[in-house]
Symmetry: D2
Subunit: 373 residues, 4 copies
C-alpha cells in the first residue's frame, strides 16, 4: 500500500535491488503527450551509477522499456508501464548480510516488520527503487515543459557536501545563486553549479572514499514558471506534499521550504514578504515564503532544500548483531557511492515534477471543470 | 479534497475562523474505546487562545461536543463527529482585509486559487482549523495510551524561540534533555521544559509583542514506546508521513528527523547507529537515525523537529496591494499571538498521534491479519 | 474509513439515528457556486418521513444548517459542513432491541464486527444516515444544473412496487416512458410518474401496512445531457462507481445498467447499438448500452435500475436470538415505512449526482489540464 | 487513476491488448505467503483463450512471470509485479477499426474521452486487461485458503447462457444447487456444474457461433467460510464493493446479491431471515440476505450474480460511423468468443477474492489492532 504515490497523476513503483527488475506504472497521465523511451532514458542516465569517478563503479545501464500506454509516439491516457531489468548481479557479495544487519540501513526494520527480507543489495529499500520514480518523473517533467502556457522549469543542484557549501547565504529572494541552467548543473560530476565549490566537493568526496568513509549533503530545488493557485488547503498543502515526497527518498533527514529553519532567526517584520505591483502583476517584493503561502503557490519562485545523511554503507568493520540478536561484526563491502547526493539530483527533480503535475490536475479539477457565471 | 487526512484512521476537518464553527469527523476509530468530551477538552484547552499573557487575549472557550460515534461512553467504530462553535466574532476588525492582502498570509493565494475567500480572520487558513486536528488527536493519543501493550508516550516542547535556544546540542542519542513529563512542559506558558530557557523565551516574546513584532521557533517532538515495524516503504515512510503532517500546519517552514540537517556535518562512520544486544533485545547503540530506518520504526526513541516562522500578523503598517493590484498599506490589527509556537505544541502532538495510529493499523492489517505457518 | 465517498468531490457522512444529529462534510466543491440552505432543504424534504400517508408517521423536520464553506451565498471551495439535528427521540421504543437482533437488519452484523452497537433506531445503519448523502447530493445536482454548458438532468422514479409494475417493457432505447419531469414524479406519494400505476402501488403499500407487512420495489434512474467521455477505465468505470453508490444504500439488493439482466435474453446482433450520424453528431441508433460503453459515457441517455428489498421492519412477532444466542421472539414496533422505495428516489438521484460530478472533475483533470498542440 | 483497485490489498493493472504486454502490481500483500508462478498460471490457464472449442481459437499462452516481491518462494510484503507478454499479434486484422467504431465496444467512448486510442484489439478496453486481475486474484485466493483459521472457498459458475438456465429457482437459502467443487465447475467447457444444462449451453453457444452471432449469460458466485464482520458501513459495504468489482468487468450489465431483483416479489414477512441458534452458534434460518446484512458479512454463505451481455463482436456486417462521423459499415472479423461468460468465471472469482482480502485486512486494522480491556 505504500508504493503508490499521487492522487490523480498516480504512480506505483515495484522491484528490488537484485530481483527481476525495477519498474513503475503511471496511471492518470494526460493523453496525447509525445513520449519516447529517450525522454525517460535521459533522466535515468543522470541517475544511474557509474557516471563518474565519484559514484559507485557498478555497471548498470538501467535501460528503460515502455511496455504500455504509448501508441505511435503519443500517450493514450491509459497506464504507462515502464520496466528496467536488473543486471550486474553478484549475490555472493551479499552473503554476509543474510544473517547480519547493516548499521543505519533498513535491514533490521524490514526484518522486524515483515519477518522476512531480501537481503541482497537492500532489496526494496535499495536506492534502485528510485529508478521508477525517475522514469515517472521524466514524464511529469515533459508535461510541465510542453503542456502549460508558461513552461515550468525545475532545477535541483547540490548546495553542500559535508562541510563544503556554496559561499554566501540566502538573500530576501532566496538562494544567492542565479537560477542555474541544466548545463551548469551537469557541468561537474557533483552537480553543483558553482564550479569552484564543485571542485572542493569532489575532493571531499574522494577523500571520504579513500578513507572508506562517506559524506552527505544538501540539495536545493528551485521551480519557476508556476502559476499561483497550486496546492490544496489544509492537509495537502503544496509544501506538505513536497515534504512527504522528499522524505520518502532514501537517506533524507530534513526538508525546508523558503526561509526554512533560518526563518526562526528573523522577526515577523523582517520575514514578511510585502506585496507589490510589478508591471501590472501582483508579486511579492521579497520571497522568504519560497513561493508558497498558506500551502498554495503564489507565482514566485518555489524553492526548498533537502538534507541527505552520509551514506550508511562504509568500507569498514562495524559492530552489529545478527538475526538472532548476537553481537558480531560486519565488514562493509560492495560497490557503493561515498556520497549519494549527486545522483539524487534527478530524483529530487522527479519527485517535484510528480507533485506539481498532480496538484495542477487537482486545481483544474476543482476550479476549472465547472463555472457559475 | 485536501481536508481529509489518514488512510485508515481518517479525519476530515471543516470550518472557517469566523463561520458557524469548526469541527472534525473521525472515521475508522477502533470500537469500544472509552471516550468523553473531557478527553478532548483537555487538549483543546492546551491549544486555545487566552491561556497566558504571552498568547492572544482573544476569548475563545473552544468547547467541544461529541455529536456522534460514541454511545454510553464507548466509541462505536462509526464516525465520531466533534463540533466547536465559533465565538467572540468581531467582523468589523477585518473590514480592511476584505480588499487588501495581508503580507505572508494566505489571502492572496486563496483568492488566486478560488476567485473568492472569506477574509474574516483568515477563513479556512486560520489556525482555528487546527481545533479539529487537536480534537481528533486527543482520540488518537488515548488509543496509543490505552490500546497497546506498551503504552506510547508523545511529548512535544519548545526548543527554540527566535535566538533563544535550550543550551547544548544533540548527543549521539538525540536531544540533550531527558524525556520531559507533561508537567514539565506545561510548567511554563512557553512550554519549554528547561525553566531557565523558558524564562528567557517568555521575555523575548513579550519584547516582540511590545514592538508590535513577532517571533518564531522550533518544536521538538519525541515519542517512546513505539514497537519496531511501523511505517511503510516506499512512499509512506513513517518520517515522510510525519513530514507531511507537520508541513501541513500553518506557519511551518521545515522538518527534520533524527540528526536532520545536522547529519550533513558528520561522516558515515560518525553517523551510523551500530546495533547492540541490550538485555536480550536488539537496540542501536546510538540514535542518530531518530528511531526510524528505511522509513520504519526501529523501536528506539522517535524524535523530530519542526521550524515555525515568525507570526505573519504584526501590529505595524505594511506595504501591500489590494484586490485590483493597486499598491496600498495595511495596518496590522486584531488580537494575535506574537509567537504561535507554544500553542502549536499540542497540535504537533496531535498530528503525530494521528500518523502513528494510522500506521499501526496499517501494520496490523498487512502483517497481522493472515498468517502462514 | 467507510464513511468517505468520492475521489475529488468527496463527502464524509456521520451520525446515528438517535445520537446528537446527522451530517456531512463536502470536500472539493467548486468555488463560487451560489448555495443556500433552501437548495438543500428542498431535497431533504423529499427524503424526510411523514410526507404522505404511505410513509412512516415519524415527525422529523430534518432541518439543514450550513455551518461552513459558504460565504455571502457562494461556496468558498473549502469544506462545506452541513448538520441536521435529530428529534422525536423515543428511546423506550427500542428497549427490546438492546438485547435482541432484528431479523434482516444490521444489528447482528454490527455487533459481530464492532463488539458494540447503538441499538436505538439502528444507529449508524439507519436510513437516517442518507440525510448526509441527500444534502451533499443537492449540491452536486446544483453544480450539474448550473455549472456545465449542457445542463444535466437526473430523474429517478419508481417503476415497480412488489408485483405492480409500470406496464410495458424497455424498448431498444430504454425505458418505455418519456423522460419524466420532476412534477410528474412528485405528483403522487409513491413517486411513480405513471398515475394509474401509482394508484395501484399506493393501494398495494397500504395493504401491506395494514397487514403489518412490507414491500420493496425497483427504482429507475435516468440522466440526460451528459457529455461523452465521463468514466475511467478500468476499475472506475462509470457504471461500476454507480453500482457501488447504489449498493451502498440501505435495503438495496441489485443494480443493472442499460439492458441489464435482460441483455442475457438477446443475441449480440439484437443487442448491439449501431452508430449513426444524427444532425452532424455521432449517436447510437438504439441505446441498450444505457449510455455507457467500456465504462465511459457515450452521450446517450444514461439509465439504470436498483432493486430494494421489502423493509425488514414488520409489525409482527418474529423469531430471533438475543445477544447470548438464546432463541427468543421480537415484536416489531416503531414507526416505519411499509415501503421505503418512494423516499429512496431523492437518495438515488443524490448518489447519481455525486458520482457524476466526481467523474466530470476527474475527466477535466486528466484531459483538460494540459494540452500538447 | 482508474487502474488502481483496493485500499489495503491494492492492485494496479496495466497493458493493452496489442501492446508490449499485460501486467499487474500487487501492493500490500501479507509477507511470508508461499507463492510461485504455478499458483498464478493455474488461474491464468482457466482464463486464457483457446481452452476449448467454444472459446476463441486465438493462441495465447499467457505465461506469467513474477518479477518482484517474492524471495525464495515467499512473499516479501513489498510490491509483487507480474508480467505477461502479448503474443499472436496480427495488426492487419484491425486495420479497418482504425477509422471505424465497432458498435457496442469502447472505441467511440475512448476516442471521445482521450482524443486518441489504440484500436488494435480494443487496446486497454480489451478483456486481456483482466489477466492482471486474475494474476492478482490468484494471490488473494491463496491468502484466503491458507491464511485464515477457517479456509474461505470461492466458487463461481455459469447459471445461464442466453435462454438456457439451470432448472429450478433459488430457495430460501439461495441457489438450488449444492456448493459445487472446482472439479464440477471445470468438468465442462462452459463451467456450468449441472452437466445436462451444460450440454445445452454448449450447443446454444455453438449455434450462435455458427450464425456469426453471440450470446451472454449469468454467473453465480458463492463464498463459504467467511467470518461475520467483513464489510464497512456506510459506503464501503461488502456488497457495494463487490458490485463495483463486478461492474468493472467488461460486458457486465447487472449485479445482484442474495435475493436480488427477486426480493421485490416478496413481502417483508416472506423475505426476512430469522436468527436461530444452531449448535451454539448464531445463524439465520434462511439466507435471502445472501450472507450480508447492513453491508457486513453475517457468516452465512455469500452469493451474488452478474449479468454479462452478449459479446459485442459478431461476424456480421454492421452499420456504424467512422472517425469523421460518416456513416459506413464494418465487417466483424477477428477471433472472438461467441460467449465470453465461461472465461469470465475465474475473473469473477478473482475480483471476489481481492475484495474479501481487502475487507478482511480493513476489519483487522480497525477492530484487531488495539484493544481496550
Amino acid at each position: 500500500m505504500g508504493s503508490v504515490f499521487g492522487s490523480l497523476f498516480r504512480i506505483a513503483t515495484w522491484g528490488e535491488s537484485h530481483g527481476g527488475g525495477i519498474g513503475v506504472v503511471v496511471d492518470g497521465c494526460p493523453p496525447r503527450l509525445p513520449l519516447s523511451e529517450a525522454d525517460i532514458q535521459f533522466e535515468l542516465d543522470r541517475r544511474r551509477p557509474g557516471q563518474s569517478d565519484i559514484t559507485t563503479p557498478r555497471k548498470e545501464t538501467d535501460t528503460a522499456t515502455i511496455v504500455s500506454g504509448v501508441y505511435e509516439g503519443l500517450t493514450l491516457g491509459t497506464p504507462i508501464a515502464i520496466t528496467v531489468p536488473n543486471a550486474d548481479h553478484r549475490p555472493e557479495a551479499y552473503a554476509e548480510m543474510k544473517s547480519k544487519f547493516r548499521p543505519s540501513h533498513a535491514d533490521y526494520t524490514y526484518q522486524s516488520k515483515y519477518g522476512i527480507r531480501n537481503h541482497e543489495g537492500g532489496g526494496r529499500s535499495s536506492a534502485r527503487e528510485t529508478i521508477g520514480r525517475v522514469a515517472a518523473g521524466a514524464i511529469a517533467k515533459k508535461i510541465l515543459r510542453l503542456g502549460s502556457k508558461s513552461p515550468v522549469e525545475i532545477c535541483a543542484y547540490i548546495e553542500r557536501v559535508h562541510n563544503i557549501t556554496i559561499p554566501g547565504q540566502d538573500g530576501p529572494n532566496g538562494p544567492n545563486l542565479a537560477f542555474p541552467t541544466l548545463e551548469e548543473v551537469e557541468a561537474t560530476a557533483v552537480r553543483c553549479p558553482d564550479s569552484d565549490t564543485a571542485e572542493k566537493m569532489i575532493a571531499r568526496i574522494k577523500e571520504a572514499r579513500n578513507e572508506g568513509d562517506s559524506v552527505g549533503g544538501v540539495i536545493c530545488c528551485r521551480v519557476r514558471g508556476l502559476p499561483p493557485g497550486l496546492g490544496v488547503p489544509v492537509f495537502d498543502r503544496l509544501e506538505a506534499d513536497l515534504a512527504k515526497a522528499m522524505l520518502s527518498l532514501p537517506a533524507t533527514k530534513g526538508f525546508e521550504v523558503g526561509s526554512g529553519f533560518g526563518s526562526v532567526g528573523l522577526t515577523g517584520r523582517e520575514h514578511n514578504d510585502r506585496f507589490i505591483n510589478r508591471g501590472g502583476e501582483i508579486h511579492t517584493e521579497t520571497n522568504r515564503s519560497g513561493g508558497v503561502q498558506g500551502g498554495i503557490s503564489n507565482g514566485e519562485e518555489l524553492y526548498f532544500r533537502i538534507a541527505f545523511k552520509p551514506t550508511a554503507t562504509i568500507i569498514q568493520n562495524q559492530a552489529t548483531v545478527d538475526l538472532q540478536g548476537q553481537e558480531t561484526e560486519l565488514m562493509g563491502r560492495g560497490r557503493h557511492d561515498p556520497c549519494v547526493v549527486p545522483r539524487a539530483v534527478p530524483i529530487v527533480e522527479s519527485m517535484t515534477a510528480l507533485v506539481l503535475v498532480d496538484h495542477w490536475m487537482r486545481q483544474e479539477a476543482q476550479c476549472g471543470t465547472f463555472s457559475f457565471a
